[in-house]
């Protein structure tokens, strides 16, 4: 039996190596997506079975006889022992955001290979290790947050940096994801109506849950889902109506203002009215669509049309500027390694873990599943013809504002595409145009619609599936925006409470309105900047988001390394130090290039200098807009510089602590809660 087990795992490992080697070496016409699926699934299986088990058994020494905080501090609310598979679903739903969907679609400009390899290897050796270790550390420390652990294990500087970073990331994160929605909805009455109608549906759900059927969340969400489906069909009718279509045909700026107003309302209004019902609905739709996409890919097994590498590995890409290193690794954050996950792993989940051993599937396994979502997004992006992919994702400032100019530019890169072809595609999916729809959402929706329509219905249903995918992405992202704004408001009020007590009270309306407005103004400014940016906004905002997210991952890995050192000395510190060294190298290189590169398409300061020279020469059409663009470029450079300083500060502080521990000059005692024997019975789970 043992021999059979060895043979099975040897076969899985061989299949993983064969598929990874296959996708890395094969340079034929097209490769089938099933190669990517098998390479990912087999590598995840080997990583989960061997690497994660080694960490769980040898490094963490997980002990199922040790009572977890869920048992010791059980209160029926936060602390509650929960079945591991239920918690797995709960944790996965919490970590799965739009990042793993959008990042791979953007990184596909390098071809399918760099992003795919980074997603698979990054998750197995970096992202899943980070999530697993932080979850373990939090379980052993009564469910403490990342900030609290940073303060206790590294020092007050580390703790303060973690807090400041989280608030900054909250603001930076919301702008690019809001821009993704803006670019998906602009000049699209069908999509705009569909998303606008989800607001009254959410309010209806809120009233239904509070007054008509209290507590029936699943029933209410099922009703909400049916209404949203009807809403997609109604959107087609609105787009065809000569009276209604112009009302819902909005410019990017009008949509940005609408989203800013929405974010403010969702933050200031009672949470049960708008935010919570949308959140419930979005969670179920998200999980359902991810399952549908997995089933669709396995059923259709589409061929990848994009090559393994494109010419844009040299850094001249139209979607975002910069070479594979470091920009592929900050563009794809959430599917490979995401600092944000450390907040979830030290938030709700450690308070619900019933047995220490459950941290293995919940912490490590959930991240592998998230990584697989990123692989599916990569496949969805790469099933499109390369010319179509670049026509949709390239900004007008790069390829030209007219369809003729855009197809000429893109075809000259070796990716042939025609105006008639793009018009027919737009007509099939019910859009006026698909040119310059940057941000990743429309191209992901096209890829998903392509896969779903091939399961049945063909071109007749591609329009429905396209708008279904847009609805899914926008619903998902708007939930991040409204919840993120509210969280940012609470964080700001918490800080302001130290200055003036009433400002800290979350029930004092002037404080609520002021703090909501400040947070909305923060991300709204960057959103408007993105809309105005002639290079499409994603070029400057997405790297900022990626750098900040990876910075948070670096903080989490610094905390994890410090704990590892205290537990075992230097013996196992490579487990977290290797991904940390990689992340620091990537983050520093990317931030440095974004600030100081002499290329205006890449470096913020070079961009500002180029615009200033044009302004001085009088060769710009609108001086005030150009002045605003110059200011924005310098502001982005400043924000990037702040991130660089934060990474450097926490890294140096951590190294100081590590050297002290290794030389025996610092207290190396771990701050774990004392051992208590579990009394939890198996039937209670």
């Amino acid at each position: 039996m043992k021999l059979l087990g060895h043979l099975f795992w040897a076969a899985v490992a061989a299949l993983a190596a064969f598929c990874l080697g296959g996708i890395a070496i094969y340079r034929g016409e097209h490769i089938n997506s099933i190669w990517l699926v098998l390479a990912a699934a087999c590598t995840y299986a080997v990583g989960f079975r061997f690497y994660a088990k080694f960490i769980a058994a040898r490094v963490m020494a997980l002990n199922n006889k040790r009572a977890t905080p869920a048992e010791r501090l059980r209160n029926g609310h936060d602390f509650e022992p929960t079945n591991k598979w239920i918690l797995f679903g709960h944790h996965f739903a919490a970590i799965a955001g739009p990042g793993p969907l959008v990042g791979p679609v953007l990184a596909a400009q390098f071809g399918y290979l760099p992003g795919t390899l980074w997603i698979i290897i990054g998750a197995v050796l970096g992202g899943a290790v980070q999530d697993f270790f932080i979850l373990f550390a939090s379980i052993r420390r009564d469910g403490k947050s990342l900030g609290q652990m940073a303060r206790e294990e590294i020092g007050s500087v580390g703790g303060a940096i973690a807090l400041v970073t989280v608030l900054m990331i909250m603001i930076i994160l919301l702008a690019p994801v809001a821009l993704v929605v803006v670019n998906a909805l602009k000049s699209s009455p069908w999509a705009t109506f569909t998303i606008a109608a989800t607001m009254p549906i959410a309010v209806f759900m809120g009233l239904y849950l509070r007054y008509w059927r209290p507590g029936k969340v699943l029933e209410c969400s099922a009703l909400g889902f049916l209404l949203v489906m009807a809403d997609i069909f109604a959107g087609r009718w609105v787009a065809a109506s000569s009276t209604l279509a112009p009302i819902f045909t909005l410019s990017a700026m009008a949509l940005a203002i609408a989203i800013i107003i929405y974010g403010f309302l969702a933050s200031a209004l009672p949470v049960w009215l708008l935010l919570a019902p949308r959140d419930y609905l979005s969670t179920f739709v998200k999980l359902g669509v991810i399952l549908m996409l997995a089933a669709g890919i396995l059923f259709v097994r589409p061929e990848l049309q994009l090559p393994a590498f494109t010419r844009f590995i040299d850094g001249t890409g139209p979607i975002f500027a910069g070479k594979i290193f470091p920009f592929c690794f900050i563009t794809i954050a959430c599917g490979a390694i995401s600092g944000f996950h450390s907040l979830i792993s030290s938030g709700t989940t450690p308070k619900m873990i019933a047995r220490e051993g459950h941290a293995w599937p919940v912490g490590y396994g959930s991240m592998l599943l998230e990584s697989f979502v990123a692989i599916m997004a990569m496949i969805a992006a790469c099933v499109m013809q390369p010319g179509v992919y670049f026509a949709v994702n390239s900004p007008a400032g790069v390829v030209g504002a007219t369809p003729a100019a855009a197809v000429a530019t893109i075809s000259s890169w070796g990716f042939p595409v025609g105006v008639a072809q793009m018009q027919e595609l737009a007509r099939n999916v019910g859009e006026q145009t698909l040119f310059n729809r940057t941000g990743g959402a429309p191209s992901l929706a096209l890829g998903m619609a392509h896969i779903f329509s091939r399961t049945g219905g063909g071109q007749a249903v591609i329009g429905f599936w396209y708008h279904f995918a847009i609805m899914f992405e926008a619903l998902f992202i708007l939930t991040i925006i409204d919840a993120g704004t509210r969280v940012g408001r609470f964080m700001l009020q918490d800080l302001l409470g130290h200055v003036s007590a009433p400002l800290g009270r979350t029930s004092w309306m002037p404080g609520v309105i002021g703090a909501s407005a400040a947070i909305v103004a923060g991300w709204g400014y960057f959103l408007v900047q993105g809309v105005r940016d002639p290079l499409g906004g994603i070029n400057s905002l997405w790297p900022l988001f990626g750098i900040s997210n990876q910075l948070l991952a670096a903080i989490a890995l610094c905390v994890a390394t410090t704990i590892l050192l205290k537990m075992h000395g230097a013996k196992y510190m490579w487990i977290t130090c290797l991904p940390l060294a990689w992340l620091v190298t990537v983050t520093f290189s990317a931030a440095w290039q974004k600030i100081f590169s002499p290329l205006p398409a890449l470096g913020f300061l070079a961009q500002a200098a180029k615009l200033e020279a044009a302004l001085a020469a009088g060769s710009v059409a609108d001086a005030s807009t150009t002045k605003a663009l110059i200011f924005n470029a310098r502001l982005d450079a400043f924000v990037c510089g702040i991130f660089l300083l934060l990474v450097a500060a926490i890294l140096l502080d951590s190294i100081r602590v590590w050297v002290g521990i290794l030389r025996g000059k610092r207290d190396a005692r771990v701050c774990e809660a004392p051992f208590v024997l579990t009394e939890l019975r198996a039937e209670e789970l």
Binding site: E80, I86, H90, S221, V271, A276, F545, N549
Partner: protein, 58 residues
């Protein structure tokens, strides 16, 4: 058939957890209370306040 039924039960349990319905049941059991509109509103307000004070994932 049993495996399918068990999988269905697990799926429903995950959905009920995500929908906070399990947490509400635990709340009623812990405090020995009966379900009512007022009780749900009290539970829901506390739960949502705590949820939206924590950072959300991207």
């Amino acid at each position: 058939m049993t495996a399918v039924r068990r999988f269905g039960a697990l799926l429903m349990a995950i959905l009920r957890e995500l929908a906070d319905e399990n947490a509400y049941q635990r709340h009623l059991t812990l405090h020995g209370r009966e379900h009512s509109a007022a009780e749900w509103r009290k539970f829901s307000e506390e739960r949502l306040r705590a949820r939206y004070m924590r950072a959300r994932c991207c």
